[in-house]
């Protein structure tokens, strides 16, 4: 039974791949929305693409069922399609690993993906490049599936790069604006910096383990030297930082909001950006085998990112940018969890975050839809009167992310906080602060958008059912997802038990304190969150504490600590000049040398040419002089 079900794993990537191919090569008559006045082909395209993703979701569920039918420790099935790159001792296969971790990932990726596809069918209505959009989306889902299902580093890297490219395509989807095009290439190139680390990690791994398979790595981790393993982990962290927008490679994500909103929701909030987290959880045994300070590095990178991004989010004025910084911050939380030895919490938060952040993004999409594309929150306000469905849905997302019980965000965030408290008290305080700031900026956003005085003249209109339907689904999930891993008793820790076999030998630190402390920590985080939200309420609703508002919305935070600016000015200024210097070196020095040799030869020829007077008598004179020289030579020899 399980065997038969896991055999269907290939349909999982095949479905979106077929979707992509059909959309690319399909007949214009059936699919091209440009040539048609009616919307029928448009819907046909959208539903076709969504259908393929839903199919993938169905197969993901089948894999889940298959694993359930197996015993805990048999829950790791490898399926090989064919040998991909076999050279010498290197054997890389196209093969999938069906285990609790990959199935968890794939479930929420295809699930959320399907919902966002459906949303996009309506959201992208009227866009000229409808077909192109959905072909990219399908290709993205395909790559994402490869990324998480792959049973080795290299195949994972294929998916990793695939999602990167799709992200590039989709960010610069509306390419006739130069900023969008730039944002796309910026994302890709920044990611490539991370990929540099990833590729090096692959080389080190192959050298250390002689294989690239996840399972070989897990089993070999304990016997490898700590230094090698540490290098691999740090290099993978570089890769993960690129993809998951961690400091110092976080700069691309706010720009990535140039893409259409469904893209922001799917790729830049729910799925692709969490790939880095997935990767580090996947190699958890390596973290265990590396030096003790290596996880600490990961934790602190995550922590700094979480704080910096959260503090930037509270000053943003663009609704999508607030959410973008929020995403960076939340991803920071997940890295903190990994570094603190709580990978389950990371995955848990990844799932809940996928739900509520997708919900928030799609809600934001609905808002901008209503505002005719306006994204500046200063030009909104009082929208709750007009958007009777969107508002409560968005509020669900707000409560979830702010960590209000019993919404899902509270449980996952609390688990991370507990993990950090277990590890480092100082870090715990900082993270708690970051959680507080989260509540603050989200409250600010909600108040500015949905309440208060309207700052616009037209009448916003609520979105259609097609747009709202996926929001209901996501909202429901955002509310209840907490039950996946409730801390009240061992039996309620469903996710932890489920992931246990996949995390065997991984870097997991068990809590050194009991339920009582956990209660205290939970109440503490509720208090901090509540205070932050109350403060935000006072500032943005009651218009008090003007001075605090000034600090909060300071240019420094608005510009996200000037990190991006500094990098940009370096690349555009010094970096550009250095490159130009190299190019000048090529034309002036290298080519100059060659051309110099050539022109000197020419000059020499010009000098020699003077001897060619054309006058026979002077030639004869030269001959005579030559003869004289010969005679001198003979004479000397004869003497």
């Amino acid at each position: 039974m399980a065997e038969a079900l896991t055999n269907t794993v290939w349909f999982l990537p095949l479905a979106p791949l077929v979707g992509f191919l059909v959309l690319v090569f399909g007949f214009d008559k059936v699919f091209d929305s440009r040539n048609s006045q009616k919307n029928v082909p448009e819907k046909r395209i959208g539903w076709l693409a969504s259908g393929f993703v839903i199919t993938a979701f169905v197969f993901a569920v089948l894999q889940f069922v298959a694993l359930l039918s197996l015993d805990g420790h048999d829950r790791a099935v490898t399926k090989t399609l064919y040998s991909w790159i076999p050279v010498g001792s290197l054997k890389v296969d196209i093969s999938f690993l069906v285990d609790p971790l990959s199935v968890t990932m794939i479930l929420f990726i295809t699930g959320v993906g399907a919902l966002i596809h459906i949303y996009a069918v309506y959201y992208m209505h009227g866009d000229k490049d409808y077909r192109r959009f959905f072909s990219y989306l399908n290709l993205f889902v395909f790559s994402m599936i490869i990324l998480v299902m792959a049973d080795n580093l290299l195949l994972s890297f294929l998916g990793w790069e695939g999602v990167g490219v799709c992200s590039y395509f989709l960010i610069s989807f509306w390419f006739d604006k130069r900023e969008n095009a730039s944002a796309g290439s910026k994302a890709f190139i920044t990611n490539r910096v991370g990929d540099f680390g990833f590729m090096l990690a692959i080389f080190f791994t192959f050298q250390a383990f002689g294989s690239l398979g996840w399972q070989d790595i897990s089993h070999g981790a304990s016997s490898a030297t700590a230094s090698t393993v540490s290098i691999i982990v740090l290099l993978l962290m570089l890769g993960a930082a690129g993809k998951s927008a961690q400091i110092p490679l976080q700069v691309w994500l706010p720009n990535a909001m140039a893409g259409p909103t469904p893209v922001s929701a799917l790729i830049h909030a729910a799925t692709m950006v969490t790939a880095g987290v997935y990767l580090l959880v996947r190699v958890s045994p390596l973290l265990e085998a590396s030096y003790d300070w290596v996880p600490q590095v990961i934790m602190w990178i995550g922590l700094v990112t979480a704080l910096v991004a959260a503090l930037s989010a509270m000053a943003q004025t663009d609704i999508k940018r607030v959410l973008a910084y929020s995403t960076i911050s939340q991803l920071g939380f997940m890295f903190v969890a990994i570094g603190a030895g709580a990978p389950v919490a990371a995955i848990f938060h990844m799932i809940t975050h996928a739900f509520f952040k997708a919900l928030l993004f799609l809600g934001a999409g609905s808002v901008t839809h209503a505002m005719d594309g306006e994204q500046d929150i200063n030009k909104m306000g009082g929208l709750s009167k007009h958007l009777r469905y969107t508002t409560p849905l968005f509020l669900v997302g707000w409560l979830a992310i702010s960590g209000v019980p019993p919404f899902s965000g509270f449980w996952s965030k609390d688990e991370i906080l507990a993990g950090v408290y277990n590890n480092n008290r100082f870090a715990y305080v900082l993270l708690l602060l970051a959680a507080g700031v989260t509540g603050f900026y989200m409250t600010r956003l909600v108040l500015k958008v949905f309440f208060g005085k309207p700052n616009y003249t037209h009448t916003p209109h609520e979105s259609g059912k097609g747009i709202l339907l996926p929001l209901y689904g996501l909202a429901a999930l955002a509310i209840v997802a907490g039950i996946l891993n409730l801390p009240f008793s061992k039996d309620l820790l469903v996710l932890e038990h489920w992931l246990e076999p996949a995390l065997e030998g991984g870097f997991v630190k068990h809590l050194s304190f009991g339920g009582g402390t956990q209660w205290v920590l939970g109440i503490l985080s509720i208090i901090v969150g509540g205070l932050a939200m109350f403060l935000a309420f006072r500032i943005y609703h009651s218009n008090r504490f003007g001075s605090i508002q000034k600090v909060v919305e300071h240019q420094f935070f608005y510009k996200a600590w000037h990190i991006d600016q500094a990098l940009t000015s370096f690349v555009g200024g010094k970096g550009n000049r250095m490159f130009q210097k190299a190019a000048d070196f090529d034309t002036k020095v290298v080519d100059g040398t060659v051309m110099g040799v050539a022109s000197n030869t020419k000059k020499l020829g010009g000098v020699v040419r003077l001897f060619q007077t054309g006058k026979i008598r002077s030639y004869a004179l030269w001959v005579t002089l030559g003869a004289v020289a010969l005679l001198v030579y003979f004479l000397i020899r004869a003497l």
């Binding site: 192109r132 695939g162 490159f579 090529d586």
Partner: protein, 520 residues
């Protein structure tokens, strides 16, 4: 097929085409007769190459289809052609690219007969150089290639074509002059030391391995300079951008796709195979130059204002990868390098084809004059994107497999070179994406708005490149199966020779120096 000299026929079919086209009377100048003849002959070549490819025995790493005849008897020079898993793909690439150039590119307005005759002659020379297993014969073909290329660039190129073609010719000629010295040295020294009759047969020279360590190093250096110009390696690359930029599109495709491979193929087949010890000795130098080439080519490419020149510099970076892989001197490195030679031919060939199409439409290659082309020519942009991603080395497309294997091999051999070279992966994305952004993205105005999209015929032309690009990326085993035995053969030979050199260094050195004394 037994006994039929298929490789000899393969080499001569295009040459017959040259003769036929040259003999066409002038009244056919205006018609497509010359072109059709060229297409016909190149297709026959393609079919023959396909037969060789199909008949090729994947299990054998040594030479197949060997055809041997005495040519210049007193010097022991033979007509000796054969194919192994490495050269077969170079032959296939050659046979594949030439008909494409005939069919999918516009023929010149004038001098059509010389144009096609020259290109066919070029094909003959390239095939001969890849198939020759006699050093002297190889040299002859290596030089034969120069002549038609010189005229192709000089007569059918762009504004500064005459200058570029002269530069190309002089550079390559200077390099190969040194190589000729090397060829004579290795043959004569071997004959002297072993007492066997003079021969230029590569395999027997390699097996004899008669040169002393010092001699082998010097001769290797001569070869390295000859091939290094052709590749081109870092400081002697400067002819390439000019030649590429000024050449007609067909010239650029062939130059990038086939001619540069003569250098890397030569390194592998003659440089490394004949002098494994010297190759090992100089490997750090050559890998260093390769790494410099990778980064330097990429950095300079970023700053180019001319799209074709940009692609030319990207070639330098790509060929840097190939050399890096070759001198890793291990299975992954060399297999990757061979694969990458093929990949570069496909992806850079396709890039040149696309840039050529763009030039036909817009009559400019200046990046600053182009913008927003994707809006009006979406198919063009889509195909360009795929080719570009292949060139960047995106997994799933061909470029990645080669680059990955090369870097893995290099990492095993000399870790730090590989680490630095990997950063070339970032730079590749920088220059290509930046160029793509400036040319295809952004608002479309003025002349750019009138750019027509690709016609069906042109789409098929690019598509023919993309099919193998995807195929190799997804299922590289098709090629690796054939490459690996030949590479293993080479590596076994290398290890054999290096092993004896190292083991017997003490005993080995003294007899050599005595022999050296006798000669003086």
């Amino acid at each position: 097929m037994e006994g039929f000299p298929i490789l000899t026929v393969l080499i001569f079919v295009p040459l017959v085409g040259t003769a036929v086209i040259s003999a066409l009377p002038a009244r056919f100048e205006k018609a497509t007769v010359a072109r059709n003849t060229a297409v016909g002959f190149s297709l026959v070549t393609l079919v023959l190459a396909a037969i060789v490819l199909i008949d090729f025995d994947t299990a054998i790493g040594s030479l197949q289809f060997v055809d041997r005849a005495t040519w210049i008897a007193p010097s022991g020079i033979q007509w000796l052609v054969g194919v192994n898993g490495i050269s077969i793909f170079m032959v296939a690439l050659t046979a594949f690219l030439f008909p494409l150039c005939f069919i999918f590119l516009k023929q010149p307005e004038q001098n059509r007969r010389p144009y096609f005759a020259l290109i066919l002659m070029l094909q003959s020379g390239c095939l001969g150089a890849f198939l020759a297993q006699d050093l002297f014969l190889f040299f002859v073909f290596f030089e034969v290639v120069l002549v038609p290329m010189y005229f192709l660039i000089g007569r059918f190129g762009h504004a500064r074509a005459k200058f570029a073609s002269a530069k190309f010719f002089i550079f390559t000629m200077a390099g190969s002059a040194l190589m000729l010295v090397g060829i004579l040295a290795v043959a004569l020294l071997t004959a002297n030391k072993t007492g066997a009759p003079l021969t230029f047969d590569v395999e027997s020279l390699a097996i004899a391995d008669a040169l002393s360590v010092a001699e082998a190093r010097w001769v290797f250096l001569a070869f390295a300079i000859g091939f290094g110009v052709k590749v081109p390696l870092f400081p002697i690359h400067i002819w390439l951008p000019d030649a590429h930029t000024e050449a007609p599109t067909a010239g650029s495709i062939i130059l990038a796709g086939v001619l540069l491979k003569l250098g890397t193929y030569g390194f592998l087949r003659f440089g490394i195979f004949l002098f494994p010890e010297a190759a090992d000795f100089f490997a750090p130098v050559l890998m260093g130059l390769a790494v410099v080439g990778i980064l330097y080519g990429a950095v300079v490419a970023t700053m180019q204002k001319d799209l074709k020149r940009l692609v030319a510099y990207s070639s330098i970076a790509h060929l840097g990868f190939v050399v890096l892989g070759l001198f890793a001197l291990n299975s992954q490195g060399i297999s990757g390098a061979v694969l990458q030679m093929l990949n570069h031919g496909l992806s850079t060939g396709a890039l040149f084809l696309l840039v050529g199409y763009l030039y036909e439409r817009r009559h400019t290659r200046q990046i600053s004059e182009l913008e927003g082309i994707q809006k009006v020519a979406p198919i063009f942009a889509a195909l360009f994107t795929v080719v570009m991603l292949s060139s960047i080395g995106l997994p799933g497309l061909n470029g990645f497999v080669g680059e990955f294997l090369i870097l893995l091999g290099a990492f095993d051999a000399h870790r730090w070179f590989a680490v630095v070279a990997t950063s070339g992966v970032i730079l590749a994305a920088v220059y290509l994406l930046w160029a793509y952004k400036r040319v295809f993205h952004g608002p479309v105005e003025g002349e750019n708005a009138k750019t027509p999209d690709l016609k069906w015929k042109e789409r098929i032309g690019v598509g023919l490149f993309i099919v193998p690009i995807v195929l190799i990326g997804v299922y590289p085993r098709l090629l690796l199966n054939r490459i690996e035995p030949a590479v293993d053969n080479t590596i076994a030979h290398i290890q054999n020779v290096i092993g004896t050199e190292i083991d017997l260094t003490g005993e080995h050195e003294s007899p050599h120096s005595e022999e050296g004394g006798e000669h003086r």
